[in-house]
């Protein structure tokens, strides 16, 4: 726990790392920062072209449904994926001077959060254009984002620490993420799954966050409390496990980088 106040004292570094991420990602592209918004839009378009015919009748507001799924998924997946190599990529620094190492995976998730906030813009534009009314639950959005943020940090700390000792984790996690994406009900309704899988779905944390997000945005019919409880439990569990794994190994990391 003693590392938490230390991270807070390094908040300027956290800010600079996030800024660097954002600046660097788009510096060389002609459209630059617009890509933050174009990327989920284009992905939504692909899903729409392929799946709208099948699911449009079972899902109201299909565009909003898919778009919400995509950007929530990306908030989780992009941050944790980059974080899986956080210690390896910053080995020069970690080797040379003392800093709270966990700041690197945490900054990756924070960058992803920054991207998410900008990706909300095209989401709201889509919602307005498709005539989807915004729910009064929208006030809960910050809490839900906080939950997935905490959840992602836990996963990031776990994956980045394990990667130092076994590089295979990078590839395993990549494949895992792909399967996870298809299993997160981003572009299909859960009702099409067989019952057994539906039960399994309730153990998928990201599914709860995506559903909560949809409930916040426009869908007042969803059982908010139930998903919220699941989401909160998973977030705390993930964060605790990640924190323990990282703290048990943080002094060893330097010898394996």
């Amino acid at each position: 726990m003693q590392e938490i106040p230390l991270i807070i004292s390094y908040k300027e570094l956290l800010r600079n790392l996030v800024l660097r991420d954002i600046k660097k990602r788009y510096k060389r592209s002609a459209l630059g920062f617009l890509w933050v918004m174009l990327d989920p839009l284009l992905m939504m378009l692909i899903f729409y072209i392929i799946f709208a015919g099948i699911f449009k009748r079972t899902i109201d507001n299909y565009t909003a449904y898919v778009m919400a799924g995509i950007i929530m998924w990306q908030l989780f997946s992009q941050g944790t994926k980059v974080a899986s190599t956080a210690f390896i990529h910053n080995r020069d620094l970690i080797n040379k001077l003392y800093l709270p190492k966990s700041i690197f995976p945490i900054s990756n998730v924070a960058s992803s959060l920054a991207h998410f906030i900008f990706a909300l813009i095209p989401l709201f534009i889509i919602m307005i254009f498709s005539g989807t009314a915004i729910s009064h639950n929208i006030v809960l959005l910050p809490f839900i984002v906080m939950l997935i943020f905490l959840f992602s940090i836990g996963i990031s700390l776990t994956v980045s620490t394990l990667t130092v000792f076994f590089h295979d984790v990078i590839y395993i996690y990549e494949v895992l993420l792909m399967g996870w994406m298809y299993f997160s009900a981003i572009f299909y309704p859960v009702s099409i799954l067989p019952e057994k899988l539906q039960f399994l779905m309730s153990l998928n944390p990201v599914y709860h966050y995506i559903t909560l997000f949809r409930a916040c945005l426009y869908d007042n019919t969803l059982p908010l409390t139930e998903h919220f409880v699941f989401g909160a439990v998973f977030a705390l569990l993930s964060f605790s496990i990640g924190w323990v794994i990282y703290n048990k190994n943080k002094e060893k990391i330097i010898f394996y980088l």
Partner: protein
Amino acid sequence: MISLQGVSVKYRLIKEKKRSFQAHLINYFKGKRIQIQVLWALRDISLNLNKGESLGIIGHNGAGKSTLLKVVSGVIKPAGGIVKVNGKIAPLIELSAGFDPELTGRENIYLNASILGFSRKEIDKKYDSVVEFSELRDFIDTPLKNYSSGMIARLGFSIATEVDPDILIIDEVLAVGDAWFKEKSKERILEFRKKGVTTLFVSHNMEEIKSLCSKVLWLEHGKIKMLGDPESVISEYGKEVIRFSEA
């Protein structure tokens, strides 16, 4: 103030470092534990440095010089012994580590200083004098990838020394940069000594050590071979080098 008591650091060298599940699993089922060779990078090092002293560290490659610096800066937690360090540490780290080539000089100053643990306000205050000392004002909004290695070294030195550290750690970085900047850097290090900054200095350049350090530590295979005033340690070290080359 720096105080080390009986500090030992152990590296575990895995023979043929195969860090994969596969290798791990196969070895596990074969009942073969991975062969680990223990290397004591530092052994029973005790040392006291008062405020304002500057210690030169010499020795062959692999003698433990850099490991010692890492212990002082807190990067490595020693396997045994007590480390006490009071004050803000500024390491002059290798150029590639804290800089990002895609960012401009200005952005890199902010990034690098925040790596050293400074807040934005503190950096704002120091910014002008960093640029001043580095003499890179004309290039400050150019990405670092267009800098020469000497220019990058200048920027790095300026940041690490402008931030008013209590302890300065220099690991063979004065080797880069042109002669003029080297002189300027030396002056600054001497100035620091007067101001009471403690300096740790690793170098293979004995002249530099003599002119900058008040005490010299000679490490060999992780142990203290000799610790004393620069003149006598360096002359002993010189004799050893000659003996070594004649043998």
